[in-house]
Symmetry: C2
Subunit: 248 residues, 2 copies
DNA sequence: AATATATTGTCTAAAAAATAGACAATGTTG
DNA sequence: CAACATTGTCTATTTTTTAGACAATATATT
């Protein structure tokens, strides 16, 4: 069976997603690793079916890796330099020897497909990291969360794709209120602030941050959270569901 | 000769550009008209050569219509619904009768090419309308500036593409200082304000607008402009060249 | 049981920015 | 040379942002 059937897929056009998660006060990105002689890192990506919108394709690709539906997902930029080819991947496949990659279910026609130049539509997703159980699919040997400040060198321009995604996230975090997609259902104000600090990579003033958040009128105050710490217990908050932008 | 040679072009991927101009206090868009039995309006667009980056392709397509190099041009969104096909165009070609469109230099293979679903990368451009001499190319029967508030119904989702482009322009006008690309070399403060009012479609306070603009420290004050009107002559200003973003 | 400590929630003062109102300057007309 | 329309700028007011302060409180310590 052909992996890449040009009859069913749009050629030379791909989707790559920067999946953001948040844990331990650090912004993270989900990065699969392709297991060849030299491990290759690559953003989770895929191709677009002929009868599938690009948004649905991005959603499908995301579901394959995270098991999640209902995630915040938005295109942010197209990457279309002429040097965007899968030469890294091909080199490694060739290293395997033809008989071996044929064994993996890869055909000559797949190599031809991959050899072409690709234009890639960049999407970024925001997920509650606790809800994700990363799945290994396709060529993946492994898949892991990496701190955004310590990403491995990835294939092609994927590191640059992350930079642009982060820039977009920073621009949208404030006025589109999308950050709560990175948090669990309930959270303390401090946790929200730490998330913002992780995204912007700079400290924020606690008193004014709290005021600004409450003034937005998007948070619902719940019961207190008793952590056992020797101090006043913080309130838990929930993002008002009806304020949640663009999730379907 | 084939018009659309799949060997040299990326298939099912196109570029469409919203070319903004400004005149008579109105924001305008350059729209070609395809001359068939029923005139069809369509954004200026084209395809991407195999050895050409998407930015260069957009630039080339723009140069073909406007004769301008050195224009502000930026991608803003990808449109990829499954119903994005050239059925309008095909219908009209078929109406011509096969022998006639063969006469136009269009081959059967071109029809096959056009029939497929297309993903389109939207670019928007800002030009000095006085410098543009719109050129008729390809299928165009005519090409004209249309007031953005009074655009004709265009093919596919091109009207929606303009809406998104305008939204992007509005978001970027203020903090990226790109508006001056729509004005001639020199201009009065009132002209800048009228441009801003045209883009945002709302009046702005004169005194505070002037202060804000001058505080930006991007304008150079030149000599006065004596119009012959019975009032104080306004100064001319020039946008400081070294502040101009992203033009090459 | 009283005190100490760390953190939270909120208030107020100060600074900065945005908005609104006012007026002098000036190029032309009558 | 007065009348007029528009421009450039200033000041007052309001709103927003930032910084500083302090009371409330959950637990640990004594």
């Amino acid at each position: 069976m052909k992996l890449f059937d040009e009859k069913n897929l749009i050629q030379q056009l791909s989707i790559d997603s920067v999946i953001f998660g948040y844990k331990n006060k650090e912004l993270k990105v989900l990065v699969p690793q392709l297991n060849f002689k030299n491990p290759l890192f690559s953003l989770p990506g895929g191709f677009i079916l002929q009868d599938e919108s690009i948004d649905l394709a991005a959603k499908r690709i995301l579901e394959e890796r995270t098991g999640l539906t209902n995630i915040f997902l938005e295109q942010y930029r197209v990457f279309g330099e002429t040097n965007r080819t899968n030469f890294d991947l091909i080199d490694n496949l060739n290293d395997l020897g033809k008989e071996n990659f044929l064994g993996l279910g890869i055909e000559e026609s797949d190599i031809t497909w991959l050899k072409k130049r690709f234009v890639s539509i960049g999407y970024y997703a925001l997920v509650d990291i606790n809800k994700v159980n990363p799945k290994i699919t396709g060529f993946d040997g492994d898949i892991n969360w990496h701190n955004i400040k310590d990403l491995p060198k990835m294939i092609m321009d994927h590191n640059e794709m992350v930079s642009y995604a982060l820039e977009t996230l920073r621009q949208n975090l404030d006025h589109k209120l999308i950050g709560f997609n990175l948090l669990p259902e309930t959270f303390t104000m401090k946790e929200v602030q730490e998330l913002y600090e992780a995204v912007y990579d700079k400290p924020l003033a606690r008193n004014n941050f709290q005021k600004k958040m409450l003034d937005l009128d998007v948070l619902e105050r719940l019961e207190k959270k008793f952590t056992g710490a020797a101090n006043k217990a913080p309130y838990l908050y929930r993002f008002k569901n009806d304020k949640n932008p663009k999730i379907d």
